[in-house]
């Protein structure tokens, strides 16, 4: 009887929790998602949230149940039964099988499905990747340097002289990530691990000295750093005292605005 009431309370609370989660999911629990990979992250996040809520509710309800229903008052000495149950085959069996099944499900989805999807997007031979805009990203202490070899731009800057990344919306970009200091190439201790992170894109990739890493991604929303500060390139791996300021604004614009911006950057560069 106790178990049945417990079960009903648990189910009711889980349903209420799922309803609240649905509201949260409709408002994007990741705050702001603006890339194809970011959408994958968001879907995986939502799925895990929905599955975990009843598990959370079960444990918490059992704690509250213990405190309310099974509590003995101070000083009270209840008669202990002759023997307590030491185990319950059904409870243990359902718990163990249940936790194995839930975890196997997580391994299959979203872990394997989303990761394989991500790997497929990162294949250089994938159709959308063949005509990607190439941006060489150089991480040094403490600066992100962006250059656009297809347009002959070596370093793009905004009006304040800060490094900035600007990309057209809905076009795949090939980010070529390297960590080295072009101004101190003689010093082997100048190169450390950085991490390329755009919060609104839902992805980060560590940038390792001596390695070249490639990330294909497609921005899906027109946005800018001033519009939403999550639209920024941020170093996510501690890289020394300048780490907090190793960031650069990211603007995602329409194709025509991008073409104009490229022309403007070319003019700037030719002026030296």
């Amino acid at each position: 009887m106790e178990s049945i009431i417990f079960g009903i309370v648990w189910i009711v609370l889980s349903v209420i929790g799922e309803w609240a989660a649905r509201i949260l999911i409709n408002h994007d629990p990741l705050y702001y998602t603006a890339s194809n990979i970011g959408l994958m992250v968001e879907h995986a996040f939502d799925f895990i949230l929905v599955v975990l809520l009843p598990i959370f509710a079960f444990v918490v309800v059992s704690f509250i149940w213990t405190m309310v229903r099974f509590r003995v008052k101070k000083g009270e000495r209840p008669q202990l039964p002759k023997h307590w149950t030491k185990s319950n085959r059904w409870f243990v069996g359902i718990w163990i099988m249940g936790s194995i099944l839930v975890n196997l499900m997580f391994v299959l989805h979203p872990t394997t499905t989303a990761t394989e999807h991500f790997f497929a997007l990162e294949q250089p031979s994938a159709p959308q990747n063949r005509h990607a805009i190439v941006v060489d990203v150089t991480a040094r202490q403490w600066e992100w340097i962006f250059s656009y070899p297809q347009y002959g731009l070596t370093q793009t800057l905004n009006a304040n002289g800060q490094d900035m990344l600007e990309l057209p919306v809905n076009r795949t970009v090939k980010l070529v990530l390297r960590s080295y200091d072009p101004y101190h190439t003689y010093d082997q201790y100048a190169d450390v691990i950085h991490s390329f992170w755009v919060p609104s894109w839902g992805i980060k990739e560590d940038v390792i000295p001596g390695e070249t890493r490639i990330l294909y991604i497609t921005p899906t929303k027109i946005t800018s750093f001033s519009q939403n500060p999550m639209s920024r390139v941020q170093c996510a791996e501690v890289c020394g005292p300048g780490h907090p300021w190793m960031e650069a604004p990211l603007n995602v614009v329409s194709q025509s605005t991008f073409t104009r911006w490229i022309a403007q950057q070319k003019a700037l560069q030719s002026k030296g």
Binding site: K86, F106, P209
Partner: protein, 638 residues
């Protein structure tokens, strides 16, 4: 801390002992002398003249001298060194008075309290550093820290002291040393002298890390990671050295505990009857014995990389090797913290529920499988910098480890169900701990998923996650253990009102502080930053306010515990009507733990109206026990 004793046969007369100065003071003096001697030796043999008096290499070698001086000074000179080399020593061990806690001792109960005291000191120091960090984060730009390196050094000191001298020490060196021998009915530990020395490595390690800024700042956080560490100033040397002292201490604890449980169990204390907490210590001991040597070797490489340098980890070497080697240890480390906590939950819950431990075998299997799997998950710390082809196996094992972890919950919930639950302070803290660790575990499911990890890695989501798992487990359960065993260790009782009131305050402020870390992380707050984009400032400000209240709640807890220890009401012999052996001796226990060798005659976790008392002390065995205490131990039956 007066202790009533059943007058052990070897009671020394304190007047025969003539200490020239208090041992701790002498330890500091000898440490200074040791440092100076070896530092000067290095200066003398330095082939390049004109270096400053203290350099990186000289400080490193000098530190070894300081450590040796410190250990000899606190009493290892008379207690160990002189007898070892065959010289006469007038050393006799103090058995009463507060002074014995401030010198070398071979009593595992004194050693346990020394470990607990060091852990508490480390916790207060590192907690104060955390308060400074939260103060800095109240605004989006630098305020109380004038340079970002100062802030990053504070982050490193906070993390290092919390992990290596609190989380690894409180339940292992502290309650492990104090309680495990009594719980298995032993009258001492296997390596009392080694253990007596190892406890003094903890204050040495804490002070080394705390004063590392004397040699310069370091920016790497608690990982001390290369290649960044190689370009840091020399402060990083004291990180590696301090951690070497602390991990060595943990290693010795594990060696002592595993050996003690294997060879010194009371007659009738079979593996099937072994208390859960002792099981926890054995599994953790094995983890420590496997992984601590690995990380110490890595730290030696890191130290040499900085001193020599070797180019192990620069772009001309292998950049990611350090992080790989660190996390191969780093994830088992998490379970070194959590496994004794799982064990303690199921130690305290049956007692407070007055009900037989539910599914005991699964609770033990859970501990063992968590230990085994913990070595297979480390690379989930590296999803953003490893090869794609390596991601999925580690995601698989990481998700699987939640299954044996869940067994601790299954046993706990099953035990409480329809029990006669006494909601005392320790029980309340255990429930809070299980709730917090649940949040830590469930937020870890998101992190275990590689694609979600790409977004959450290195953000405040991770910071929230591991504070929930670490504080949620070790600190809440550690406090539960303090309250649970306070009547045993001090013979006194805490105030149930204040205990509960402060526990609830702690729980509320803890959750108010760290639950917001998840939101900050999702919103784009990354780690290791004293300055951050302005839009994150309001929530950070609010988090800091709750963090200060949390700090106050911790201080209030400690004040209450110390008050109860000294001034609390006299506690009954077995206030919880527990069945484990530690409750079948006086409180606090005598020097040899039990008046005679106890025998275990029935299960320790089976409650019921007609259950026989599990711990049996017969007059017959009195003789055997007296004989054993001279020979150094009883051998196990099975």
């Amino acid at each position: 801390m007066a202790q009533t004793l059943s007058t052990p046969s070897s009671a020394p007369s304190p007047s025969t002992r003539r200490a020239p100065m208090p041992p701790v003071l002498r330890g500091f003096l000898w440490a200074a002398v040791g440092f100076l001697i070896l530092n000067i030796v290095v200066d003398v043999v330095d082939p390049f003249r004109g270096h400053p008096f203290v350099t990186g290499p000289s400080a490193t070698i000098g530190w070894v001298g300081a450590l040796v001086g410190w250990l000899l000074g606190v009493g290892a000179f008379e207690g160990v060194a002189l007898p070892l080399f065959g010289y006469p020593s007038r050393w006799t061990e103090r058995t009463t008075g507060w002074r014995r806690y401030f010198e070398y001792s071979t009593d595992h109960k004194v050693i346990g309290l020394q470990y607990l005291g060091s852990a508490m000191g480390g916790f207060l120091i590192a907690g104060l550093v955390a308060m400074l960090m939260r103060w800095e984060l109240m605004s989006a730009h630098l305020t109380i820290f004038h340079y970002p390196t100062n802030y990053l050094t504070a982050v490193g000191i906070h993390g290092t002291i919390m992990m290596f001298s609190v989380a690894n020490v409180a339940l292992l060196g502290g309650f492990g040393n104090y309680m495990v021998p009594i719980m298995i009915g032993a009258r001492g530990t296997a390596f009392p002298k080694l253990s007596g020395i190892s406890v003094w490595l903890v204050p040495a390690g804490i002070l080394t890390v705390l004063f590392s800024p004397l040699l310069g700042a370091w920016t790497t956080g608690w990982r001390g990671y290369q290649p960044l560490a190689a370009q840091d100033p020399n402060g990083i040397l004291f990180y590696y050295l301090g951690v070497a002292a602390l991990t060595t201490s943990t290693f010795i604890v594990a060696l002592n505990m595993v050996t003690t449980v294997m060879f010194r169990r009371a007659p009738g204390m079979t593996w099937g009857r072994l208390p859960l907490f002792a099981w926890g210590q054995v599994t953790v001991g094995l983890l420590v014995l496997i992984w601590i040597p690995e990380i110490q070797a890595t730290f030696v490489m890191g130290l040499l990389e900085k001193l020599v340098p070797f180019n192990f980890f620069t772009a001309t070497g292998s950049v990611l090797s350090y992080l790989e080697l660190f996390w191969i240890f780093g994830h088992p480390e998490v379970y070194m913290i959590a496994v004794p906590v799982f064990a303690l939950w199921n130690e305290i819950i049956p007692v407070m529920s007055q009900k037989s431990l539910f599914a005991r075998e699964w609770a033990v299997i859970g501990l063992v499988f968590v230990m085994l799997l913990s070595g297979l998950v480390w690379a989930h710390h590296l999803f953003t910098n490893m090869r794609n082809s390596e991601i999925l196996p580690f995601a698989f094992f990481t998700e699987m480890i939640s299954i044996p972890t869940g067994f601790a919950y299954m046993a706990g919930i099953g035990t409480m169900w329809k029990g006669h639950v006494r909601l005392t302070t320790p029980m309340l803290l255990v429930l809070m701990s299980m709730f917090n660790f649940l949040i830590g575990g469930l937020t870890g499911v998101f992190l275990a998923d590689p694609i979600v990890n790409m977004q959450l890695h290195d953000t405040f989501w991770v910071v929230g996650h591991f504070h929930y798992t670490v504080i949620g487990s070790i600190v809440f359960t550690g406090l539960a253990a303090v309250y649970y065993w306070l009547p045993k260790m001090s013979g006194r009782m805490y105030s149930e009102f204040w205990g509960k009131f402060l526990a609830i305050a702690l729980f509320l402020f803890f959750n108010a502080t760290f639950s917001q870390f998840f939101l900050l992380g999702l919103h784009g707050m990354n780690r290791w930053v004293p300055a951050y984009p302005r839009y994150l400032q309001p929530m950070n400000f609010e988090v800091s306010i709750f963090a200060f209240l949390l700090g106050l709640a911790f201080v209030a807890q400690f004040v209450h515990i110390i008050w109860a220890w000294r001034k609390g009401a006299k506690a009954p012999e077995n206030p919880w009507q527990a069945r484990t052996p530690e409750w079948f001796t006086s409180s606090p226990p005598p020097r040899d733990n039990f008046p005679v060798q106890p025998e275990i005659v029935s299960s320790l976790y089976i409650y019921g109206a007609e259950q026989p008392v599990a711990v049996h002390m017969s007059a017959e065995q009195e003789l055997a026990a007296a004989r054993d205490s001279n020979e150094g131990g009883e051998h196990p039956h099975g």
